[in-house]
Symmetry: C2
Subunit: 274 residues, 2 copies
């Protein structure tokens, strides 16, 4: 049997509208889905076992063999398969140079209880991380370094916004994500072995090269503006800082996390996260 | 004599309109100015010797002693001093939570000829860097590591867009920026001692920890999507890569630059850039 493909030619199409609603946090919550773009990202998702609930592509993209694989997998899983114009694709993602493939995926469980803690030696924890681009970039670095993923604390950004998914470059499908309050996280953390290392720019912190990183190691990063609150720093087994040579005494949080992850990886080889 | 402060209360005010034009590349080129926001950034700029050509603030910000310093310096330099409403400040910068201080500065010389090469041991060079956020983040990391700044090659982004200035968090005033074509840069580079190290994810590259970094060291980063072209890689004295443990074989360019800068700083202590 051939997969059934529905053509969408009008911006008023209700299915397209419901996909567009996934650009808002509320729409994602109501549908229990999020949107990802790009043949490469959707193909990596498929390799990691994530099948679209809805798949959307342009006629040109349809000719690509990787798109055929996505169509087949979506069909097998009884998902919705849609063909549309480049113009409507652009309306959906609000991007000038829109991708030729997009897909809606089920939002996974992101409770701490669902986290497979044994999967990796290194984890990022972020307190009140506001910028979805920073989150996605950090998750992407987790993929590169074999870290397990990112645990978002308190009033952090939505990890399933289009901006977060874009910046993660597919890492949302290969890494783990959890959301919790600070107290929930600390209780969970101390329920099993784990070293909590806070990144704090203060006199109490040691140079990041002087610390002995031990697996499993949880690197705790503070908010973009305010840094890590004192009571969160007090929960840490160690506080580290990066040298600041210049005028501003500040660093982008995703860059800081990247330097720490690669340094910890150097000192404490990560297992490939599974 | 008291500084003369002009009140701006209408969105149709021509001075406000000309400031707003600095949000566009064309407007910046025509005016020879760019816009920066925030009391902290403008104060850091002043410490580094950069005086606003036009200074703008809300009545609330006016009461801050650091704003008084900015007013005095702008007045001494015969600049324009403006007071406006939070609402108009928001219209100017298109930001929900607008800063209470903004200023227009003269765009500096960004030719290679104007670069003070002796100022630092470490430099970033970026080929076809498209994202102004990445550029600003990289410049901010240059400040943190004492690197001299960023040399942008070919069709890179405008370093003076509001997004670039925002991400740089004031580093635009403490670091150097240059723009050149690839051939111009290679000719300039080889006119004096300097080690060119390219970040390339290929079999020809060595692990970044295996390379002997030598001052002055120029770290060359490729385009966000395409990486470094082969003919640019061929110009390098060494090619390095970061380990890629995960599924995607990719890293955000600003994170990659950050890891390399902090590693090179560890191996080859940077002088404070002047």
């Amino acid at each position: 049997m051939q997969p059934r493909i529905t053509d969408i030619t009008s911006p008023a199409n209700p299915v397209l509208k419901s996909l567009k609603s996934l650009n808002d946090r509320r729409g994602r919550r109501e549908a229990g889905q999020f949107l990802a773009e790009g043949l490469r990202v959707c193909t990596e998702a498929l390799s990691a076992g994530h099948v679209p609930e809805t798949l959307l592509f342009t006629p040109e993209a349809e000719r690509h063999p990787l798109t055929a694989d996505l169509i087949e997998a979506t069909w097998q899983a009884r998902g919705t398969i849609l063909r549309t114009t480049p113009d409507l694709m652009q309306r959906l993602t609000g991007k000038d140079n829109a991708q030729a493939v997009a897909a809606a995926y089920a939002i996974p469980d992101i409770s701490l209880a669902g986290l497979r803690r044994d999967a990796a030696n290194l984890w990022l924890v972020a307190e009140n991380l506001k910028d979805p681009g920073n989150f996605g970039t950090m998750l992407r670095t987790c993929d590169a370094t074999g870290a397990g993923g990112v645990i978002l604390l308190d009033q952090s950004c939505d990890p399933f916004s289009l901006e977060a998914v874009r910046a993660s470059m597919g890492a949302l499908f290969s890494r783990q994500v959890a959301k919790a309050s600070g107290p929930e996280f600390f209780a969970w953390l101390r329920g099993a072995p784990g070293q909590l290392v806070g990144a704090v720019l203060s006199d109490r912190s040691v140079d990041y090269r002087a610390h002995a990183y031990q697996a499993p190691c949880f690197l705790l990063m503070g908010n973009e503006q305010a840094g890590l609150p004192d009571d969160y720093a007090a929960q840490c087994d160690a506080l580290v800082k990066l040298p600041m040579i210049g005028a501003a005494d500040s660093l982008n949080v995703a860059v800081c996390a990247g330097v720490l992850l690669y340094h910890a990886l150097d000192r404490m080889p990560a297992r490939q996260a599974v």
